[in-house]
């Protein structure tokens, strides 16, 4: 049998990495019934990766300091080549991701896909939804303009209205009694390190469970 160089290279890699097994195991799975509503999970994953990529590129210029945050974003928007594009995608992608994740949850709820044996997939999904909202909350402060400043003032004040623990929660969120450089820095840390790391781990678990159980069939009249 004749084989090209590329086929030989692929065969060599496949023998060692098991690429064919990976393909059949991960991607070539049976689908119950083609439906665009079933693609929202993949869409969420795509948006997570897009937000991750554009976010990483934004940190090349963004500075999380009250003295420089606003100016550095003005610089990204007005002076850096395609800065408007990178931040534009990150800005609109954020809103879009919250929407897509939420509609994904609605679809799973409506089709009853959270039932046995997929309860854990649902619970992890709840965690993913909350963390996506957390990303939106922490990212909103980073431009450090009036809207960001007062939105965070109000939101942390709401968190502070919890009985007994309120004052502690407010101080823990703000890094002190007032919004300050500490607030901006800890929101930044949460936004680029803690939440994304937790999100990535939970996405891994979510995907593992989807591959393990397969996608749920739609309920019929018997159900």
């Amino acid at each position: 049998m004749q084989s090209t160089l590329w086929q030989k290279i692929y065969a060599w890699l496949d023998e060692r990495l098991g690429l064919d097994n990976m393909y059949t195991g991960l991607l070539d799975r049976p689908e119950p019934l083609g439906n665009w509503w079933n693609t929202l999970g993949s869409a969420s994953l795509f948006l997570f990766l897009l937000q991750g990529a554009t976010g990483i590129f934004l940190t090349v210029y963004y500075t999380p300091s009250p003295d420089h945050a606003y100016d550095s974003i003005q610089y990204i928007m007005n002076d850096v080549a395609f800065g408007w594009l990178v931040r534009g995608i990150h800005h609109w992608g954020a809103s879009f991701m919250v929407m897509v994740v939420f509609i994904h949850m609605l679809r799973v709820f409506i089709t009853g896909s959270y039932k046995y044996p997929r309860e854990l997939t649902w619970l992890i999904g709840v965690g993913l939804l909350l963390m996506t909202l957390g990303m939106g909350f922490t990212g909103y402060l980073l431009p450090w303009h009036q809207m960001a400043y007062w939105a965070t003032t109000v939101a942390t004040q709401i968190a502070g209205s919890v009985p007994f623990l309120g004052e502690f929660i407010l101080k823990a969120l703000r890094g002190g009694p007032d919004l300050s450089a500490l607030t901006l820095q800890r929101f930044f840390a949460a936004h680029i390190w803690m939440l994304p790391a937790a999100l990535a781990a939970l996405i891994g678990a979510h995907l593992y469970l989807i591959i393990k159980h397969g996608e749920s069939a739609y309920p019929d009249k018997e159900d």
Binding site: A53, F57, V60, Y61, H68, D71, S72, Q74, Y75, D79, V80, A81, F82, G83, L85, V86, I89
Partner: protein, 167 residues
């Protein structure tokens, strides 16, 4: 598609590859421009600076150190950078001067004058230059840079803060 039918599976594969490719290129190419943007900006030359007065430099052959600061806008911030050098009188003629930069031509550390060895020495890799900026020892590939200068009637020395190479 008369001889070869394009089946559904291949059509999906093809359209996915094409749209995926367009999206990757649509983001990938601007990202390169975004990252290298600061490297494509032109470095603006600083304005001439007064660095000393010839009447304060009485000894011939002695390097008199000077320093100056240039403020540039880098990104969203003004950055002040310090530079320095040495003025050496070669003769009684107040215009017969050597104005050397203190930036070592090896890897840009700052050289200092050592009176005992009569040489500019670099603290980083032990390079030595003579009073005229020529390499005596060590790794530098070329002599110390010079500044173009003007001496006014009252003795004030003005330099253009751009290093020029020897010769």
């Amino acid at each position: 598609m008369s001889s070869k039918e394009l089946n559904r599976r291949d059509f999906i594969k093809l359209t996915s590859a094409v749209t995926g490719g367009i999206m990757a290129a649509g983001l990938g190419i601007p990202i390169v421009g975004y990252l290298i943007d600061p490297a494509l900006r032109e470095d603006k030359a600083g304005k001439p600076v007064v660095v000393g007065n010839i009447n304060d430099m009485t000894e011939i052959g002695k390097p008199y150190p000077f320093s100056f600061t240039i403020t540039k806008v880098n990104g969203w911030e003004r950055t002040a950078s310090s530079y320095g050098g040495f003025i050496i009188r070669k003769s009684d003629d107040p215009k017969d001067l050597a104005v050397l930069s203190s930036r070592c031509t090896h890897l840009s550390c700052r050289v200092n004058w050592h009176e005992e060895s009569k040489a500019f020495q670099c603290p980083c890799h032990d390079a030595k230059f003579d009073a005229d900026g020529k390499v005596l020892d060590g790794p530098p590939p070329e002599p110390l840079g010079r500044f173009e200068f003007e001496v006014a009637e009252d003795g004030a020395i003005t330099i253009i803060p751009v290093e020029v190479k020897e010769g």
